[in-house]
Each structure stands twice: as structure tokens, then as C-alpha cells.
Symmetry: C2
Subunit: 333 residues, 2 copies
């Protein structure tokens, strides 16, 4: 069986739980015959590479390095989980400053070391913001950089499956948009349960308003729930979904969930957030978000929350004021 590409795929943060899972997942998905594992922490990184060799993934060139120059040289695809992990009690926002700086450096490194990269997926938290910062400094086109945003939608599918006691594949087109944090906009109007619109079920005995409100809350707290249950941040699902995104960009199966994408359309300006997005070999293409007036209002609230986060990062001095962005990356004009 062939690989989707022979282009160099760089997995940044490969010594971590997400990154090491991505190494294995990339091999199992047959994404690239040329995978470079990068992490500043050398010993565990080598351990991950050894594990890949011991799996018998023998027809791929799997290299590893703690030298970012060596890692990014010739990179065609990059997925980065290389931020600090969220631990118990820490909000997504607590991570902002440290990871914002890491994202800025990643963007600068991409610009100087692999300006011809085809696509970059950024997944370290808060991914909407770290992706935005990476895009800004990388000089890439907006279609070339996406962030992981599908987990909230799969969590919605999961919770609805549990509530209605049906196989999750019977719950279709679950959608959350906007931020990937506590301010996400959970849409009801897109989803169907066994072919029946979810909106027709909400407020009936099948799913009372109270139950729906509680269910939405479980979706929003889905990541914290994993921490509470496992004693560690989720790592399998972020790894898996972000490589499904790369697979789509490499020309493989379509990605079925929302994607964190640059939006600058008048209504939403200078932001990366979960949008309806098509991922193809041409990269990310934002689609229209369909929803009720109330859902659109929630999406706008979520957007404003992200703007606040973005403006915090401006105040920190990690990125210049928005008015100066198009000078830094003309593709964002």
C-alpha cells in the first residue's frame, strides 16, 4: 500500500503524549513515507522513534531530531503539538502567554526554514490563538494553516449518542463553531438523530431543555472531564483528528468536522476559529456557517471572546496590533 505522499511530514512535539501518538497514527494512516519527529527533549524523542521502528513500520524513512533547522528543512507538511499541556485546574487561557511565544517562534522558523511548506496544522492550546500567531509570523496563505477544532463536535456527537442510546454514526452533522474553549458556540440546528432534526427533539420528552443545557455543558467540559477521568489531558483524540485533517489536505479521505481557519470576511475579522471548512489538496476553504439567528448570535459572542484573547496577546507584545498585520504577512491583507 502506498503512502499518500512522499513529501516530508514533520511532527513537532513528538516526544509528548500527543506527538508520539501522532507518529504512530501517521504511519497507520499511511500519510507519508518520510516522517521527521521533532522535539527539543532528545531522549524521549529517540524513545518514540525506537517504538516506531519496533512496530515494524519498515518502509518509511522515520527520522528524529532536536534541531529545528534539520527538522523543518524541506518540510512539506507540519503538525505541531509542541506547546505546554493543560493540566488539572488550569484554564485554556492560562496557557496563553507561554504558548503564544512558542507559536510566534514556530511561525518565524517556518518563514525562514521552510517557506515552501504546503500545510501546517497547529494543535497546541489555545489552538485558535496559537494557530493565528503562527500564521501571522509564517507568512503563509490562510489556506495553508489550520487548527484542530473538531473535538468539540465529536464530543457533541458522543454526548447525543449516549443520551439517545444509539450508535454515534446515527448522530450526524454535529457542529460547534467559534472558539475551542468554554465560549464555543454549540449548534443544534445542523445535527440529526437517526435522520430527525435535533431541533425537533429539543424541548420534548426525548430531550428536555434542561437535558439539552446539561448536555451542552458536558460537551464544553469534555476536555476537563478527560483530565478528571484519566489524570491527564486528552491525547489520543487530538492526535487522531489532527492527522485526519492532514490526510484530507494530502488528498485522502474528506475531513468531516469543523476546522480552525483564518476568517476575515467583514463579519469576522482577523481571527482563526472553528468554521465550516473544506480541506482539499488546495488547503482550507471556509464555507458558510448555517444556523438559527440565536446560534449565529452565539457564534458572534464566541468570536468576540477570541478577539479579546487575541487582543491580550497584542497587549503582551507577542504580536503587533492588528492594523500592522498585513505588513508582517501580506497574505492576511
Amino acid at each position: 500500500m502506498n503512502y499518500l505522499t512522499d513529501g516530508k511530514l514533520v511532527i513537532a512535539g513528538a516526544a509528548g503524549m500527543i506527538g508520539s501518538n501522532m507518529a504512530q497514527t501517521a504511519m497507520m494512516m499511511r500519510l507519508s513515507s518520510n516522517v521527521c519527529l521533532y522535539d527539543p527533549i532528545a531522549a524521549p524523542l529517540e524513545g518514540v522513534a525506537e517504538e516506531m521502528y519496533h512496530c515494524g513500520f519498515d518502509d518509511a524513512n522515520i527520522t528524529f531530531t532536536s534541531d529545528i533547522k534539520e527538522a523543518l528543512r524541506g518540510a512539506q507538511y507540519i503538525v505541531s503539538s509542541g506547546g505546554a499541556a493543560r493540566s488539572a485546574g488550569m484554564t485554556r487561557e492560562d496557557l496563553l502567554k507561554g504558548n503564544a511565544e512558542i507559536a510566534a517562534q514556530l511561525g518565524k522558523d517556518i518563514r525562514s526554514l521552510c517557506p515552501d511548506v504546503k500545510h501546517v496544522v497547529v494543535i497546541f492550546n489555545p489552538a485558535d490563538i496559537t494557530g493565528l500567531i503562527t500564521l501571522l509570523y509564517s507568512g503563509l496563505r490562510p489556506s495553508q494553516l489550520t487548527t484542530l477544532a473538531g473535538l468539540d463536535s465529536t464530543r457533541l456527537q458522543s454526548e447525543l449518542g449516549k443520551h439517545f442510546k444509539v450508535l454515534r454514526s446515527h448522530i450526524t452533522n454535529c457542529r460547534t463553531y467559534g472558539g475551542h474553549g468554554e465560549q464555543m458556540a454549540v449548534f443544534a440546528s445542523t445535527a440529526k438523530v437517526d435522520g430527525k432534526p435535533l431541533t425537533e427533539l429539543i424541548g420534548t420528552s426525548a430531550l428536555t431543555h434542561e437535558e439539552w443545557a446539561a448536555l451542552k455543558e458536558r460537551v464544553i467540559q469534555g476536555g476537563k472531564n478527560i483530565i478528571n477521568l484519566r489524570g491527564r489531558s486528552s491525547f489520543q483524540s487530538p492526535s487522531y483528528l489532527s492527522l485526519e485533517m492532514l490526510r484530507a489536505v494530502m488528498g485522502g479521505d474528506a475531513f468531516r468536522w469543523p476546522v480552525g481557519t483564518w476568517v476575515n470576511n467583514g463579519r469576522f475579522s482577523n481571527i482563526v476559529m472553528a468554521m465550516e471548512t473544506r480541506l482539499t489538496r488546495q488547503g482550507a476553504e471556509v464555507q458558510e456557517v448555517v444556523g438559527t439567528a440565536e446560534e449565529q448570535k452565539e457564534l458572534e459572542q464566541s468570536y468576540r471572546h477570541l478577539c479579546d484573547l487575541r487582543d491580550e496577546v497584542v497587549k503582551m507584545g507577542v504580536v503587533p496590533p492588528v492594523a500592522e498585520w498585513s505588513r508582517l504577512n501580506p497574505n492576511l491583507g
Copy 2:
């Protein structure tokens, strides 16, 4: 894409690092549409199930339980990593007693709860012994139970690939047999490097006797090396390879490495150890081990080491003397 089977696949030890990886790997390999995750530790187990839901593996019935009866009822395939993990400084043998008891209970549970199971893969250490004990108490036929033994062979492939600086797929038919511990028999005569017999290279400047001895030592210490590098036992490669074994037994791609199998052929008696083995829908079928006289001698030494371990377990009272085994499991007669 269909699953290889709709038969119930039980992953025992699913809350652990190996088990949780197996859950994801089983889904990605499309092994079964009906996967039950079992672990006595309830909270992290639920966390693993949540992660699987959040991956969007939505067309499989993924259940979880801490009740062994519920888990094994109707099981057609079982893979168990449900022992204690080896930690730094601990030899494989230190684990013997605790894991031997766990294996005995697993065998008894299989006998009482799912005597119609098709195949069981045992991978907790020392897998040769825990598999043997599980087989003994389960009452299964020898073809129905195998243990993970391929990792030493992939490690040999990996080390040879590094030494000769070639892609690992150019190193073919690497084989270690016997025990999966420090007494393994590393065969040279089966392997080829770019089509050239390894034995023709050993003792030349391409691979001096000293280099070969050091390389074999790295193979033998491959597991410890992972612990040293990552600060934890290997979990990705044992998970992946053991599910490749199950895949073969379910009728999928052939398994390419040695397998821990029951042997009772006069030369080797009443033991489970790494053998040349065919895995098909009919289960495990032991093949002839081909090697030089010296390699066969090493294999016999490895076998005797395993007999010592087995006899230790007899002395501990975990299993009766070998003479009584066929009463416990008539298929072993």
C-alpha cells in the same frame, strides 16, 4: 469500509498505556465493530472510551466495563495487557509471581465466561509464562492462544537498519526465537540485508564479530532502552504488534514476525515461546524453526530458561506440576 469482524473483541487492561493504545489501534485497523474495553480501574477506563468517542470512531459499538463477567460474556477475541508494567530496574522475572496469578485468573474466567472464544492474545510480562498459564486454565486449544513475541525481531530489524544505514524494509526475515527475555535466541542465518545473507556479512568489515555481539545486546536490551529513554515501558509497539496478530487471526493481512505459541513436540515440551508460526483464521500453527546448529543450541538454552521460569511458577503453586496439566486442559495432552 467494513470491519474484519462483528465478533466481540475484548481489550483487557484498556485503562493502561498499552490497552488504551490498543483501543485506538483496533479502531484504526478496523478489526471489529464491537469492542469492549475492560479494566478494573473504572475512571481512567471511562476516559479512554471517551477519547475513542471523541476520535469520531462512530460506526463501532465501543463499550467499557470494570465487570469481568460483562466484559467476557460473548467474547470472540481477547487481547490482554492486564498485568503489572515493568518499571526501571525491574527484570522481566520480577514480575513473574504477580502476573502469573493474574494469568491464572484470566484463564479461569475465559473457561467459565467465554469458552467459545476464538482467539486470545496475551501480552503482559513475562508473556511466555503468562500466556502458558492462561492457556492451561482456559481449557482452550493451543492454536487459540498466542503471546506477543515479535518485538525482539523488529528490534533486530531496527538495529540492523541503523547499522547498515538502510531503510528497515531492506532488512528482511529477522528472527529471534525462544524466550522474550534476556535469554532470547537471536538468529542471524534467516536475515538478509538488501538481499544478502546477514551471515555473509558478519565477521567482515561491514559487521565485525564485535559489532554483531554489541548489536545483539542492543536487541536484547531494547525494552530497557525504551524505559531509559522515555521513562516508561514501551507501549506503542507492543500494542501495535499484538493487534497485527489479531488481525491475521481475523482473516486480515498475514503476520510477519515470530509468535509466542504452545510447543510440545518432543524437542520442546509443555512451553509457550517465540516460534515460527502461521496465524490464520484457524489460529496459530507452529512451523519449523530453521537455523544453524549453533542457533538451534541457543534456542534450546532459551527453552531451558523458560522451563526454569515455568518450574518456578509450579513451585509457587500457581500451576500444578506439568504431569497434571492434561487433566486441567485436555487439549494440552
